[in-house]
């Protein structure tokens, strides 16, 4: 075991898969000699060579097309989109092409591609860096969307994502890259995609969260505990498909739930979680399922992040509404 930050765990997962499978290719803008703008690919080109880990021209759509084309030659591409706000440039390659590759060829071809991309607020990035766009991806049949919140989850989920034979969007929250260390096994291990994790057990309320909001939810749970409320925190880990079994099992136990996301209320995936609970566990509910989300504006100018981004206080407030309904 080693103490790792999430970014180190990601590098470790990439190294593991570059070693395990000669078809794995890591490429993107500045991921080679530079080791990535966040050092996620640090040292990989040196260890595996320019043939395996390489830079691309500055064009996201081209990167997406490159990944798709490489799959026809048996490669397992792990491209990087420098910031997920740049997704719009490569939306066709992702949603219009790779997500549909297996279906449109009736299984003749498939796209074992893992797109890594940083996102998330709280670190005062410039425009179009921090936007939470996982909701767009979650609406596209053919993709899986994974968002880890811990170093341990990041490594196991990224190895699973790379080994998956269908396209996976792997979103890395910038604020979590180096915010804390955690024990991470040095050997390889996997965490199944589509499986949530109960990060804290409780009996009065279920908080369903993902990304940076998992940590705000855990903080909120601690405070609520002090006031005598036992709170369960579920980390979705995969936001498409969501782990319905874990969610429903928890809600049937606690009878109350809130869904927490950093994205705007009209975006993200919280509405989908609420709908699934309503469909499947309405008779267990003592109160409506409420959402914690950002205001429905464009992502804030960086100085406005503290007043705009949802935080543990918002979670406590919403939790109390549900607990006291």
């Amino acid at each position: 075991m080693a103490q790792m930050t999430m970014i180190q765990a990601i590098t470790d997962a990439l190294r593991t898969e570059l070693r395990n499978d000669e078809n794995v290719l890591v490429f993107g803008e500045d991921v080679g000699v530079n080791g990535g703008v966040f050092r996620a690919t640090e040292g990989l080109q040196k260890e595996f060579g320019e043939d395996r880990v390489f830079d691309t021209p500055l064009a996201e759509s081209g990167i997406g097309g490159l990944a798709i084309g490489l799959t026809t030659q048996g490669f397992r591409p792990v491209p990087e989109i420098q910031f997920f706000g740049f997704l719009y440039e490569v939306m066709d390659s992702v949603s219009g092409q790779m997500a549909r590759w297996r279906y449109r060829t009736g299984g003749t071809f498939h796209a074992p591609i893992t797109i890594r991309s940083p996102f998330g607020g709280g670190v005062h990035t410039p425009e179009m860096h921090a936007d939470s766009l996982e909701g767009l991806m979650a609406q596209q049949p053919g993709l899986k969307v994974v968002i880890p919140s811990t170093p341990y989850d990041a490594k196991g989920l990224l190895i699973s994502a790379i080994r998956d034979n269908d396209p996976v969007i792997f979103l890395e929250h910038m604020k979590l890259y180096r915010s804390f260390r955690q024990e991470v096994p040095e050997e390889e291990y996997t965490i199944p995609l589509g499986k949530a994790d109960v990060k804290r057990e409780g009996s009065d309320l279920t908080i369903i969260a993902y990304g940076a909001m998992v940590h705000d939810s855990l903080k909120a749970a601690e405070e609520l505990e002090k006031e005598g409320h036992s709170v369960e925190v579920i980390d979705l880990r995969t936001v498409s498909p969501i782990d319905i079994d874990t969610i429903i099992t928890s809600v049937e136990k606690t009878n109350r739930a809130i869904v927490v996301q950093e994205a705007q209320k009209q975006a993200g995936i919280a509405a989908h979680v609420v709908a699934e609970i309503n469909d499947r566990a309405i008779l267990s509910l003592e109160a409506p399922v409420l959402r914690v989300a950002a205001p429905d504006t464009v992502y804030p100018f960086s100085q406005a992040e503290p007043v705009w981004l949802p935080n543990h206080k918002d979670i406590i407030e919403t939790a109390k509404k549900v607990l006291e309904f």
Binding site: G69, S93, T108, P141, P241
Partner: protein, 371 residues
Amino acid sequence: MASKTKKTQFDAVKTLENIESQFEMVQILNEKGEIVEDALVPDLSDEQLTELMRRMVYTRILDQRSISLNRQGRLGFYAPTAGQEASQLASQFALEKEDFILPGYRDVPQIIWHGLPLYQAFLFSRGHFVGNQIPEGVNVIPPQIIIGAQYVQAAGVALGMKKRGKKSVAVTYTGDGGSSQGDFYEGINFAGAYGAPAIFIVQNNQFAISTPRDKQTAATTIAQKAIAAGIPGVLVDGMDPLAVYSVVKEARDRAINGGGPTLIETLCYRYGPHTMAGDDPTRYRTSDTDSEWEKKDPLVRFRNYLVNKGIWNEEKENEVIEQAKEDIKVAIKKADETPKQKVTDLISNMYEELPNNLQEQYEIYKEKESK
């Protein structure tokens, strides 16, 4: 502040003219079927020449029958190909089986001649997934509907081939309108930056639906856009099978020997509408232009060339026509006999392992389908 514009030595207009003068059209056969460029005549045997003619005639019949079958409602989406036989088939004729074709939506003939069974091409037209189940060993993808996407993907196929050390190329096609897309530039630029073995073909058939070529760009040729990627660009008479074959063959030879990609503009014409979905070319094209381009018909000039060589005659041509009609009849029947699609089929084709939402929906539709 200077009151007058300072005279400069730099002549930007001259620079442009110099560039344009470098893109003269390669032609080997003129409209009468006479060799006009002896030195460029490709090294093709009589058998190869007649095979190319056979394919062109066959494909002209395929176009006529497809239009007719579409009108009868026995085919769906169809983008006519008449007029582009030299551009489409002579280029494919220069390829080897191991080469990988990324076609646009009008480029069904190339993938048929590369190995896609005809009945599957018809199923593609109708909208059936079996049409896109490419047989093992046939190196093509289904026709690409998103104009330009095939270009960035071709750069990836070609880079993959280079990494595998293969002696093969990725070949992709778009139209004149497609050269305005971002993916067009990104595709040729990526392939150039990686020195990847790709051949990018722009079939300039003069119109993108109703929009004429000169509304796409002020560039006098599309071939010169290769300069932006720093790769060779060639303008070729797209109604001349020998010229198309020669430039593609040259690009292929160069690519497999590490020379990187080439952009080829084939100047051609589509006699029919853009697609069969209600496009009416009389709204934007004159009959004068149509007849001017009919004189340039690739079949007419190639037929004259081969007849003069004594290796083609009416009898041979009729044999091809009859064969094509028979094959088409058989293929349509086979398409008719293909089982209808079920929702469970569509679900099964989404992922290797179905996620929980689709597992659940699979059971629901399986139940519906069993009733």
